[in-house]
Symmetry: C2
Subunit: 558 residues, 2 copies
Amino acid sequence: MVRAMGLAGLLLGLVVVPAVLVSTSLRHGAPRTEADPESSSWELAADAVPEDSLWPLPQWVRTYPRQLQLAPSRFQLVHGAGSSAGPGCGLLQDAFRRYYEYMFGHSRRRTWGRRPLAARAEPELFQLQVVIEAGDPGCDRHPQLTSSEAYHLTVTEPVAILKAYEVWGALRGLETFSQLVHEDDYGSFLVNESEINDFPRFAHRGVLLDTSRHYLPLKSILTNLDAMAFNKFNVLHWHIVDDQSFPYQSIYFPELSDKGAYSSNLIYTPTDVRLVIEYARLRGIRVIPEFDTPGHTQSWGKGQKDLLTPCYKGGQPTGSFGPVNPIWNTTYDFMTKFFKEISSVFPDELIHLGGDEVDFSCWKSNPEVKEFMKKQGFGIDYAKLESYYVQNILDIVSSYNKGQMVWQEVFDHKAQLKPDTVVQVWMANNYAHELSSVTGAGFTAVLSAPWYLDYISYGQDWKKYYSVEPLKFPGSEKQKKLVIGGEACLWGEFVDATNLTPRLWPRASAVGERLWSSSNVTNLQDAYKRLTSHRCRMLRRGIAAEPVFVGYCAHEAR
Amino acid sequence: MVRAMGLAGLLLGLVVVPAVLVSTSLRHGAPRTEADPESSSWELAADAVPEDSLWPLPQWVRTYPRQLQLAPSRFQLVHGAGSSAGPGCGLLQDAFRRYYEYMFGHSRRRTWGRRPLAARAEPELFQLQVVIEAGDPGCDRHPQLTSSEAYHLTVTEPVAILKAYEVWGALRGLETFSQLVHEDDYGSFLVNESEINDFPRFAHRGVLLDTSRHYLPLKSILTNLDAMAFNKFNVLHWHIVDDQSFPYQSIYFPELSDKGAYSSNLIYTPTDVRLVIEYARLRGIRVIPEFDTPGHTQSWGKGQKDLLTPCYKGGQPTGSFGPVNPIWNTTYDFMTKFFKEISSVFPDELIHLGGDEVDFSCWKSNPEVKEFMKKQGFGIDYAKLESYYVQNILDIVSSYNKGQMVWQEVFDHKAQLKPDTVVQVWMANNYAHELSSVTGAGFTAVLSAPWYLDYISYGQDWKKYYSVEPLKFPGSEKQKKLVIGGEACLWGEFVDATNLTPRLWPRASAVGERLWSSSNVTNLQDAYKRLTSHRCRMLRRGIAAEPVFVGYCAHEAR
């Protein structure tokens, strides 16, 4: 049992239904008989058999054959009796409105052919009552690693009840409830009586977007946050700047984007950044900004003089610059002020400090750097210089009470890390071994290596992402608990607003289920069926997710 | 010299400027110094230096430093003196309006910062005069293989002149002229004085769309036709039906789509089909429909009883069906009527009859088929049965005065083909050898094998498509002339309206230039620069073409 599950499950379990802590999934007890989706008997229509469209699959689901009907004009999402949240909880109010729209909104345009409610025999479901059990529901807080996302949902006549310890669990439960509701051919909205107990397997479930190789308009980022919520992701890893451009508009150092962005229009203003953070918060998604140094910083040098290392050739500066200059005090003065701003602009407990792919050649060419190496006794081991730099940055950021996330090289090069540093494992080559090493040294790990979604290939590559087992590495139970989750990374070299959505979704959905659902949810044929439905649902909700395979969506055929 | 070039060049050459038949490209005489686009010195902004944004590169371009200015309020696209076309030529009138919009339309929204015309020193270009030289300009005709697409363009003060033998050349020249016009940072529209002589290297330059694996809404098809025109493609190969669905609504056999389409809403009505054909015609694009038989026909069987072969196992029918049943007269009665309709609905000289990937196992299982094989003396060579079927279909279609296009297996299996049959080479394995065989036997060939764009991969795969030389196969000059062109194929297993455009463009643009431009236009760095600009232009014109590599478009930065 990993940390997230233990914690979240426990909090809810004690209060509501201890029995459901058992992670047996009834859903998967029954034998399944679907044909291989790539054989000649494809499932062409992605039709919404209710329980076959849940994604990611909850930890524990029981559905009953009895169907209840929902009348859009009467059905209400409301705060239940005993909830610590009420109409003053903007986060839930917003979610109620949003999920009402997802369930019924698309049908407004089609009022033809709708059978009157009375014509059906099914009893009616009148409300979904949401009960938050913690004393402080968390309405105005930001989600964090230790937030509870667990929830318990019962759908029975005449009202459904969604219980959660905090609002974050309610958000996840609302998503699940909305996935249970389906529309029949006559335009009636139905839900099967059911009971669901659910919580995430991993606490950190991220998507990395890269806004430096290509600028992504604000709208693309917000659309992606919607899609993330549909897939129960809870971390946006915002790789906001890199060599190519610096679109983050700094308050203290406006020249960074004035000169380092592709254009003064292709930037994220403080207002934009606040909007992204709030839009994400309302969906239970943390925003972890990455300001990668000392490598990947060419764009920083344009607006900040004397920050990067001048490269030399034949005893003369070439006019080119390398990584951040680690030997000058001015570098650390700048970083101190810069990360003070970042620490205050981004509310998340973590800042990602990068640290990947530092090219030592420019440092090696620079006589001042060489002199410094000698003085420090680093010999010719430039990894030591890198660690020297990184530790200074870690100290600066720690002084602002922020935790840190870094790429694996920072660990590999033996920097002195704070014990709570999160190490992101990204190198595809033998990542299981790296997970062993990182957790063996007692550090927390996030896995990305098998989930670089920018590497596209022909066919159903979602199966490859889906079939990863993050805890399959040599290590103790204690080590496994240190793997807090993973991230699907969509680097931006070949991605901008034209292709972001269909390239990321539903491929990232495979990662979403792997990180949320029980480790025994691995049947590809079952996943194919649900993913196909889920993709159609995303499409209905305005996410241009690409097709999984041949076929069509039921709503396209209406 | 291939056929297209010889013919088109000759027609125009005799009338206008015989000298330009020389295929020297002055454009490529100058040494080029661009950095490798994948090195650290990427070209980040796709800025529009005029001659660096032409795509596909014309056969002969000379540009002069002198710039002329265009005033959107005054500039006119008009019929020139001596043109056989006039205001009655709807095709050109429509093209004038369209290209005016492409050149100036996007700037209407931004009237700020526009310098008054008088403030610039440049002389003004007042008109583009279009002169069609053939007695019949072709305004109301459909383009065909032998249509002339050659044109000659001179841009000098005070008017530019575009001469073409037929309207098809004028369409290509309008595209080129619109690519020369660029907007500076102050919102002024400028064009360099220049002279261009141009004609296609290959006469058949196609894009295959597959509307069976996924239905493509009409709008997606029309958008794609726009993009094709921007890249001087001239054939839409419409792979309209296949195993998965039959979206073509037949007039004689409406049950084919009633029962064989994904849904009765996911079809192309006769009106839709007419619209596609007309929209394509106005852009100089032929529509070649493919009705692939005897394989790939599962969807046909749903609406047409007794058409497909019943499969057997252990002496009993299994209830499954195989390819079209080649032994019954009713099959040919149906096909006679069906192709009569197709021949009249689609005006193009060619119908694609498919013939690929026929699975013999069902035929082999069927006792009636076995009996027929014996009677015909085919032994156990089912390729002979396939050829028997195909020849019957070829005869039927020939009787309607239509030419035929087939996939390579029809040739490989030694069917008796009409001499003018076009054989499409699609198998990646040793396609050069296949081109040799097909042309060696005297048949016309179209190459697709290296251009299956549904096979995606990471990185700049356009370079792979671009670097293909279609005539690099063992054969005589006469054989080479039989290669009339090629097609970029986007099969639809993983493609629908969500990802069609960014997946196809600008990757297909690489094929577009290979098929249009001179064989010596092969410099990847030069192509990178122009393709990046061209992609931005497509974006400005509403085509969501994906990025070639890191960077941004100048218009996004404004």
